[in-house]
């Protein structure tokens, strides 16, 4: 953005709404605790909350504030998103989330998928009061979870399409047009693969033409890679989808998203089984 405005939508309400949130927690607690049973799966976001009288055995979760707990939060959120119809993500996307515990999926799916209760499962089972910053962190975590799942879905879909294209053969494509200067076009392959999230490896074929257009294809530039977790094998026998997931995870700077991508990888390659 070229200029700075007088207004920003951000951060003027951190200290507010404690009473509202208290009511919110109570309401959501009831619904979730009843449906989730032991609340094993409810994302526990607040690290400072007290226990509500009706809760059982949750004291050890107090340190989860603002963090994604892949073993619990993912279970509720992603099942909720699956309920919205992302079956096209393919097996690679579903597997990683289904393994997080199906027992709680249906209840939290109702909250997340329908958008009825955005904070319900964040504070489920506690009756605890979240601060505004804690809420923001929790909502951001949800957003990031959605990003990770979305990336996995799109990457899987693109790999599937690419595999189909490879099967169909690539010798009949004439996508070039009369290129200025080159004139021969660029046969084969997807024409437009321009932009991708920082954590993805969507590829980048720069079309013939203006060499100054690096901004649109910067995703091909060298990126920092991160170490693979100990339980991840060398990946020499990975197929294209697994390789994409691996590369995406290795290049993802956000540790939470990285871990989600590794979960995707584990699920896809069957490591988690």
């Amino acid at each position: 953005m070229p200029t700075i405005s007088d207004s920003s939508s951000s951060s003027n309400g951190d200290s507010s709404s404690s009473s509202q949130s208290s009511e919110q927690q109570d309401g959501s607690q009831d619904s979730n605790s009843s449906s989730n049973g032991g609340q094993q799966s409810s994302p526990q976001v607040s690290g400072t909350q007290g226990q509500s009288p009706g809760d059982t055995g949750e004291s050890g979760d107090a340190g989860n504030s603002g963090e994604q707990n892949s073993g619990t939060q993912a279970g509720s959120q992603n099942n909720g998103q699956q309920g919205s119809g992302q079956q096209t993500a393919g097996a690679s996307n579903n597997g990683g989330f289904e393994s997080n515990g199906s027992a709680n999926g249906s209840s939290s799916a109702g909250n997340q998928g329908n958008g009825d209760d955005p904070f319900g499962d964040l504070s489920a089972g506690r009756g605890q009061v979240m601060t505004a910053s804690e809420r923001r962190a929790a909502l951001d975590a949800r957003l990031n979870e959605g990003f990770a799942e979305f990336d996995g879905m799109i990457l899987g879909e693109r790999e599937r399409v690419q595999a189909e294209a490879d099967e169909a053969g690539s010798d009949v494509m004439s996508n070039g047009g009369a290129g200025a200067g080159s004139g021969d076009g660029e046969p084969g392959g997807p024409l437009i693969v321009a932009s991708a999230p920082s954590g993805s490896t969507g590829g980048g074929v720069m079309p013939a033409g203006n060499a100054n257009r690096e901004g649109d294809f910067s995703n091909t530039s060298p990126q920092e890679t991160f170490e693979t977790p100990d339980d991840i094998p060398s990946g020499n026998d990975d197929d294209v989808v697994a390789r994409q997931l691996r590369e995406a995870a290795m290049r993802e700077p956000d540790p939470e998203l990285r871990e989600r991508l590794w979960d995707e990888y584990r699920a896809y390659t069957g490591l988690g089984q």
Partner: protein, 397 residues
């Protein structure tokens, strides 16, 4: 009486003959695409979204209805949109050029179009280009007529036979930009499209950042802060949106690749049939006119006092009858070509229609999944914003 008919007869003959003399010059060469030699910096590159062209099935002239196959035309909408994207992308004059099935409002430039005619010989389309502010850059009808050699495998290059038409559009777009759009306006357009996208995801935040001016164009009322956290989140979403749209390009790329061979063959054969049909139609029309004129002339001659005219009248009448009969014969022959063309079209439709349906279903499925995800993000952004300003979330708790 003969004197009365003689001028009419002559005029009709001249009209018929002159109709035969009309020629159209065609060529296998096509308009090359222009590149901006000035060197465009990255921040001045405008991204382009191209909507799937409209098939224009409601606007087909009655004499062309039998040459138009709806399933083929539907496939052509993807083919044409994709090839235009290819031409624009190849030019290097623009940012990312994408074929987008849905809303184009958050594109820097939005191209929409309707295919008016496509029969192997001629392609005509109406093209409209608007920028994010709503200003119209181009609203024009384009036409390209190709030679039959455009389909000759020995002459055919890797480009589509109608590549010249797409190149013309690309060149017009560049010319308009070079003549009318200053750097500041380019940056303004990019900012508007960015806010449009942000407004779609967080209307409660960005609704009043844009307003419609008196000229109907969107104007920036205020700008978000560079470090606006909501905007930063939306930028993350926009990157995902790019990735999603790139996935659609894979769909279209595969589709175009698969249809290219049979479609080009269809157009090559269609070209021959269309040429023969047009020629037969012209011959039939001419012979009908001349036949009627000859009969009228022959009838007039029977009334003539001139012996030569009188005795030649049976010949004139016979000639007229023969011309009319030949006109009907040519009409029948034309009908045979129509049926041959229908067979070709039906054959291609059978091959291409399932692929088109598959493409549409895939697009709808992926778009549905993406839109569901977007809706969740919109709700999360709304809650984040409510949290930021200390309001209760919009949802019931």
């Amino acid at each position: 009486m003969l004197r009365l008919f003689q001028p009419i007869f002559l005029l009709l003959v001249i009209a018929g003959v002159s109709a035969c003399a009309t020629q159209t010059v065609k060529s296998t060469t096509f308009t090359p695409i222009d590149a901006d030699q000035s060197g465009i910096v990255e921040e001045e590159l405008l991204d382009i979204g191209i909507g799937i062209f409209q098939p224009g099935l409601d606007d087909i002239p009655s004499n062309r209805e039998e040459l138009t196959f709806s399933d083929v035309r539907m496939a052509e909408t993807y083919f044409a949109s994709y090839n235009l994207a290819a031409a624009l992308q190849t030019s290097g004059n623009w940012g990312v050029v994408r074929v987008v099935p849905g809303d184009l409002s958050s594109s820097d430039l939005a191209i929409t179009g309707t295919i008016l005619q496509s029969d192997g010989e001629t392609m005509r389309m109406q093209v409209n280009v608007k920028d994010a502010t709503g200003a119209t850059w181009i609203d024009k009808e384009y036409e390209e007529v190709v030679s039959k050699y455009s389909y000759d495998p020995r002459m055919r290059r890797s480009e589509d036979a109608f590549q010249g038409l797409f190149n013309k559009i690309a060149n017009d777009l560049l010319e308009y930009k070079q003549r009318n759009i200053e750097r500041e306006e380019i940056l303004n357009i990019r900012t508007v499209s960015q806010i449009q996208f942000a407004r779609d995801f967080a209307p409660q935040v960005f609704d009043d950042y844009l307003e419609e001016g008196r000229n109907g164009r969107l104007e920036i009322k205020r700008l978000p802060a560079e470090n606006d956290p909501i905007l930063a989140r939306i930028e993350n979403i926009r990157e995902r949106d790019y990735l999603y749209v790139d996935s659609l390009q894979d769909y279209y790329s595969n589709f175009v690749r698969q249809m290219d061979g049979p479609y080009t063959e269809f157009r090559r054969m269609s070209y021959d049939e269309v040429m023969k049909m047009d020629r037969l139609a012209a011959d039939s029309r001419r012979n009908m006119i001349m036949g009627v004129a000859a009969i009228l002339g022959g009838i007039a001659a029977t009334q003539s006092n001139n012996a030569a005219a009188y005795y030649s009248s049976p010949i004139i009448l016979a000639s007229g009858g023969w011309l009319i009969k030949d006109a009907f014969n040519k009409g029948d022959e034309r009908q045979m070509h129509i049926e041959a063309l229908a067979e070709l079209g039906n054959s291609l439709e059978m091959e291409i229609a399932p692929r088109t349906i598959e493409l549409e279903e895939r697009t709808i499925t992926l778009s549905g999944s993406v839109e569901a995800q977007y809706e969740q993000w919109r709700e999360l952004l709304a809650d984040i914003y409510a949290n930021e300003i200390g309001e209760a979330p919009s949802s019931d708790l």
